[in-house]
């Protein structure tokens, strides 16, 4: 019944959209007097041309994977969780407490503990807006926005007044002990003979994020719980008819969502910074919204979108390192990518559909 073959929908449309975004970005780069071709080369080689580049690209992608999945799960339940930012902040707090308070013997155990802490704190931060939505009808978009601000204030208070080591200028927690340092991709791949950049921050969390993608996929499309979440998201009256409790699903979906957002902290806090800093999340919660929307809330789509954004971040960093292109340009490029692949995709799809319909009529 579809007008276009699947490959056109899945590959051609995003590709052409991306191309349009690239062309417009090139124009902007030219407008500020730089060379767009060199810039693109720099971005591609910087982000994908070496294991070092990949290490950073995947590091960023890991963050976006968690927040993107978080937004997606809530979306499937018909809930717009804008609170990924705050939930990831709290996840960081969970990780920091776990790593600082418990003397872990080995990183594997620490990872389990920290993941639990991250998920628990993230979920807890999502629980209140979820409860208010389910029981009081308080719009989850407002409450999660509010909880982002509250989380920032809470963290600021804790890091400046409570968790900061005496005398340190930095509003950050103490460094985590050596035992909880997570292995980087270099550490993981070296034993099997693959050499991977030592410097890049991508670490074992990336694998956990990929695993999370698979699990979320299983959850949503292979379990009755996921089935209930999706049903409720599509139609509340129908869900009620089927005996699916709106309260339970709202709570569960938001807890999972918050937990996923919180889990981002094992990548940036435990894996990279190895201490909790004030601005650890740096907007990944919001990028997660774009990633989920662009990935059409499907774990595989989220994966691709997250890697795309990882590429943009790392490519942007390389641009910033070796050229005088201001960092705002990178923001503009990101915006154009989001715009063309996410919002203006029909601009590409509509004429393509007409084209395919014509060829089909022509041949049939």
């Amino acid at each position: 019944m579809e007008v276009m073959p699947k490959w056109a929908e899945v590959i051609l449309v995003p590709l052409i959209s991306l191309l349009l975004a690239a062309i417009l970005s090139a124009l902007v780069i030219m407008a500020i007097g730089e060379d767009p071709i060199a810039a693109v080369q720099l971005m591609v080689t910087g982000a994908l041309g070496s294991t070092y580049g990949w290490g950073y690209t995947l590091y960023y992608a890991t963050n976006f994977l968690f927040t993107g999945l978080a937004v997606s799960v809530a979306f499937h339940a018909g809930l717009f969780n804008i609170g990924g930012e705050g939930q990831a902040m709290l996840g960081g707090l969970g990780v920091a407490l776990m790593c600082l308070l418990i003397p872990w013997p080995h990183w594997t155990l620490a990872l389990i503990g920290a993941s639990a802490g991250a998920a628990l704190f993230g979920a807890a931060w999502a629980a209140i807006p979820a409860y208010l939505q389910a029981k009081r009808g308080s719009h989850i978009v407002i409450t999660t926005i509010m909880f982002n601000f509250i989380a920032a204030a809470l963290l600021n208070y804790l890091l400046v007044n409570v968790m900061r080591p005496q005398g340190s200028m930095d509003p950050a927690s103490a460094r985590f002990p050596e035992a909880v340092h997570l292995p980087t991709l270099h550490d993981l791949l070296a034993p099997i003979g693959i050499s991977f950049s030592k410097a890049a921050p991508a670490n074992v969390t990336f694998l956990i994020a990929v695993l999370a993608c698979v699990l979320v996929w299983f959850l949503l499309w292979r379990t009755w719980l996921g089935y209930e979440i999706r049903s409720y998201g599509k139609s509340e009256p129908a869900a009620k008819y089927a005996g699916i409790s709106p309260t339970a699903i709202t709570m569960i979906a938001m807890l999972i969502s918050g937990g996923l957002a919180g889990m981002m902290a094992i990548n940036n806090v435990m894996g990279e910074a190895e201490r909790l800093v004030l601005n650890a999340v740096e907007g990944a919660g919001f990028i997660g919204i774009a990633v989920a929307l662009m990935g059409r809330s499907h774990p595989f789509g989220v994966f691709l979108a997250a890697v795309l954004f990882g590429f943009l971040y790392q490519g942007g960093a390389e641009l910033a390192l070796w050229t005088n292109i201001p960092r705002e340009l990178i923001v503009v490029i990101q915006a154009l990518v989001i715009l063309f692949t996410g919002a203006l995709d029909n601009m590409v799809r509509m004429p393509l559909e007409r084209l395919f319909l014509m060829t089909r009529r022509g041949s049939g």
Binding site: M1, Y227, S231, K234, S235, A238, A242, G243
Partner: protein
Amino acid sequence: MTADDTSGRQETAAPAIELKGISKAFGPVQANKDISIRVMPGTIHGIIGENGAGKSTLMSILYGFYKADKGEIFISGQKTEIPDSQAAIAAGIGMVFQHFKLVENFTVLENIILGAEDGGLLKPSLSKARKTLLELEHEYGLNVDPDAVIEDLGVGMQQRVEILKALYRQADILILDEPTGVLTPAEADQLFRILDRLRAEGKTIILITHKLREIMEATDTVSVMRRGEMTATVKTADTSPAELAELMVGRKVLLRVDKTPATPGDVILDIKGLRVVDDAGVERVKGIDLQVRAGEIVGIAGVAGNGQSELLEVLGGYADGTGEIRVSGQPLDLAGKRADGRSRRARGIAHVPEDRQREGLIMDFSAWENTAFGYHRDPSYQSGVLLNNAAIRSDTEAKMQRFDVRPPNPALAAKNFSGGNQQKIVLAREIERNPDLLLIGQPTRGVDIGAIEFIHQQIVALRDKGKAILLVSVELEEILALADRVAVMFDGHIMGERQSAETDEKELGLLMAGVGS
């Protein structure tokens, strides 16, 4: 507008509407194929056809809602371009859609003037419309409270608003798409009286319906559509229901439910003093007692909005009630945790909800996902912690086969099936569970006669297996044909019970109006 200026027009020989070679495709779906039709002024022209035949599409093209890929439109002999509804309205066409196009939280008056305001300010438009409305009401007996909010009105009233909307725009040609699908017999009768009146004034009416009786009683000519094509146009006087049914489905159709007398067994459903208060705090069911036995069909008749829906909702587990309900002797929770759809299903209660698109199906889900809907936690659909999708799919395929769902493609999304086939998916899901008690609301609403025949057969077959069936329908005809016993609800009470063999539409109609025993 007076009778004088319309009578003159009646004499012109040109058809009020002439469509020539209309074709329309939705993506790969060819909804209308080279359709031509002529409708004479001052007549009622019926259009029938199976679900998905393209009736609504054709009329939407005439009304400028869709744009035809090919073809020409002539209004009163004049070739007319109708690129949008504005043009259709200007050409004197009004349309009452199958799914009403009303703004739910606006008042009647606001809906009526929408798009037909006089000037930029609302006040003068509203007062003028109020006056005109009064005249129209007077003229046609269409009483509606102009200040009522649409969502508070019953469907019958909403339909009147739609008709008034068209009349307010001085439509000479009125298209009605399945207007009686949601009306009570009394409301339908009233509608046809109004249509007669309009015809007498020289207005032209196109009537789409699935009900052959209405075609036979109300129309002058009738066209039959099948799979996007116009297969026949005949004078109503020259045809018969059986012939029309055959023309439309392509085979002989049984127009009557074929069933043996019931042999009721034990009491399965036993309701005592049930009361239901809705979200707004209004008591909708005011203490009813009712029993349904194994092997019988009990029909609940009544004008929509008299508590039948709430009754079904409580039985189905998604509204709270007070009182006592026993199923097979065991009490049923009416509130709290165990009063939900899942617990009900566990107790052997299956439920075909009144609104299949809102409740019975997830329109974006595939047919196979919908087949599991409500039963998704059933052990036979699980393998370990995971859903056994393969099992659900093969189960769906079998059910689609047995219920003749077309197309028999489990992967197709529910929204891509026609209404009749959507209903079959729901029925297959619920009936094939072999429940002790089947709750079924409006089983054939908006469904074509071929499918109606089939659905009725399935319900009777379940009864003959010794199951209890509670049927709620606003179609008296359906209730009389299907139910063994009829209870009539009015204002939250049961006005009376009758054996269906011993009663008729007239008696039930009185009970439905709150008059009687």
